[in-house]
Structures are given as C-alpha cells and as structure tokens.
C-alpha cells in the first residue's frame, strides 16, 4: 500500500508528513510547501535517500524558486501529479 503524501505548507504539515512516511511512499510538495526547498534543505536531502520527493512546477515557478534546483528534486506538472495518484494506492494530504 504505497502512499502519495501531498504537503502544501512547511511547518506543521511538513513535520507531520515526515513521521508518517513508509519506504516506497512518495512526497509531493505543492503550493507553499515548495518553500521547503529553502527552509528544509537538510531534511529534504535526508528524505531523498528514503522516499521519492517531487515538487509541482507551477508552484515553484510562481514563487521564483528555480535557483534552488541544485537539490535535484523531481519537478512535475499536473499530469505528473495525476500519474503519482495512479501509481500510489492512496493519497494523504498534509495542510
């Protein structure tokens, strides 16, 4: 039962998501959750070793965060978001 976790803010939503992850899960950062690229670099690097982390391109571009793509996080569009919901068995939203 792999799970897609969506995270739309840093702070509590991101922290709670981190403790709910199982091996094989995926994380999608969207809306203000993309600020994790700025605020949680260390956490993300650690995270990337265990689960797949994606960011939604529209939200990254909107906020001018492109200069942080050195973190090598997979940037996807809404089509990619849909595919993540197909390949995972369920979706949990953290907000």
């Amino acid at each position: 039962m792999a799970t897609l976790h969506t995270v739309n803010k840093t702070g509590q939503p991101l922290e709670l998501c981190l403790r709910a992850l199982n091996a094989g899960d995926s994380v999608l950062l969207l809306e203000e959750g993309v600020y994790a690229l700025y605020e949680a670099g260390d956490v993300l690097s650690e995270l990337l070793r265990h689960v797949a982390v994606h960011v939604l391109d529209a939200d990254v571009l909107a906020r001018g965060m492109t200069n942080r793509d050195n973190l090598d996080i997979d940037m996807i569009d809404y089509q990619g978001f849909v595919e993540l919901t197909e390949t995972n068995d369920k979706v949990v939203s953290w907000f």
């Binding site: 939200d59 849909v82 919901t85 197909e86 369920k90 979706v91 939203s93 953290w94 907000f95």
Partner: protein, 131 residues
C-alpha cells in the same frame, strides 16, 4: 480510474486549494479518468457562490469551476452545514431559514457529509485539497 475530490478553500482567499484542485481536475479528465464527485467543504463552499466578482485582471475561479461542472456533468456537492454557516444557500434553504435571498450557482447540490464518505469509499482514489 474513479476519483473523488474534496475542496476546502475559497478562490483567491486564504490558501490556493481551489485553484490547485481545479487544475488537478482538468488534468484528471485529460488523462481519461472519471470524477465521480467533487465535495466542496469548509471555505470551499464559497466556490459555489453566484455573487462573487473577482477583479477583471484575475481569473474567475467560481465561474471556471461551474463551467467544468457543467461541461463534464460532474456531481458537485456543497456541504450544507458548511454552506449555511458561510452564507451560501439555494432558494429552498433560504426559505427554510427565512433568509432575504439565495446565491448558490446552478449545477451544485447542497447535501450532507454522507456524500463525502460515500464518494470516498466508492472512488478508487480520493484526494483532499486542504487550504
């Protein structure tokens, strides 16, 4: 696959969830998936208000939602309890609560939380767009 969506936020206020959910819904339909129900909950009920006029240089999300609902004949349910406490009502409820008017857009049904749980169970995938 069969999807059910829950939308918790109003358009252009608070968070961005109304816009995100709309984009996701369009991508779902473009991929050939079926949306068995969209449940508008919490501040999401404002998306069904017919009295909203966004600034002309911004998109009109309530209108875009209504167009999507009509075009694809989507079962669009607005939580009645959440709607009553936020001032979104149809003519029937306006009469029941003796309100001076109604504002629910065409194409939306006011109903209870059972519709959310039913859709959650019946859908292959359930996605919440929290605000």
């Amino acid at each position: 696959m069969k999807y059910a969506l829950a939308v918790y936020g109003a358009a252009g206020t608070g968070g961005q969830s109304s816009q995100t959910a709309l984009s996701f819904a369009r991508a779902l339909l473009a991929s050939g998936h079926e949306i068995i129900r969209v449940f508008f909950y919490q501040d999401g009920v404002h998306n069904a208000s017919g009295l909203i006029s966004p600034p002309q240089d911004e998109q009109n999300l309530p209108e875009q939602w209504q167009n999507l609902v009509k075009e694809h004949n989507i079962d669009a349910v607005v939580c009645i309890a959440a709607a009553l406490r936020r001032g979104v009502v149809n003519a029937e409820e306006a009469q029941r609560y003796e309100l001076p008017g109604s504002n629910l857009r065409e194409g939306y049904e006011l109903s209870g939380l059972g519709q959310l749980l039913e859709a959650t169970v019946e859908a292959d995938r359930f996605v919440t767009f929290g605000d």
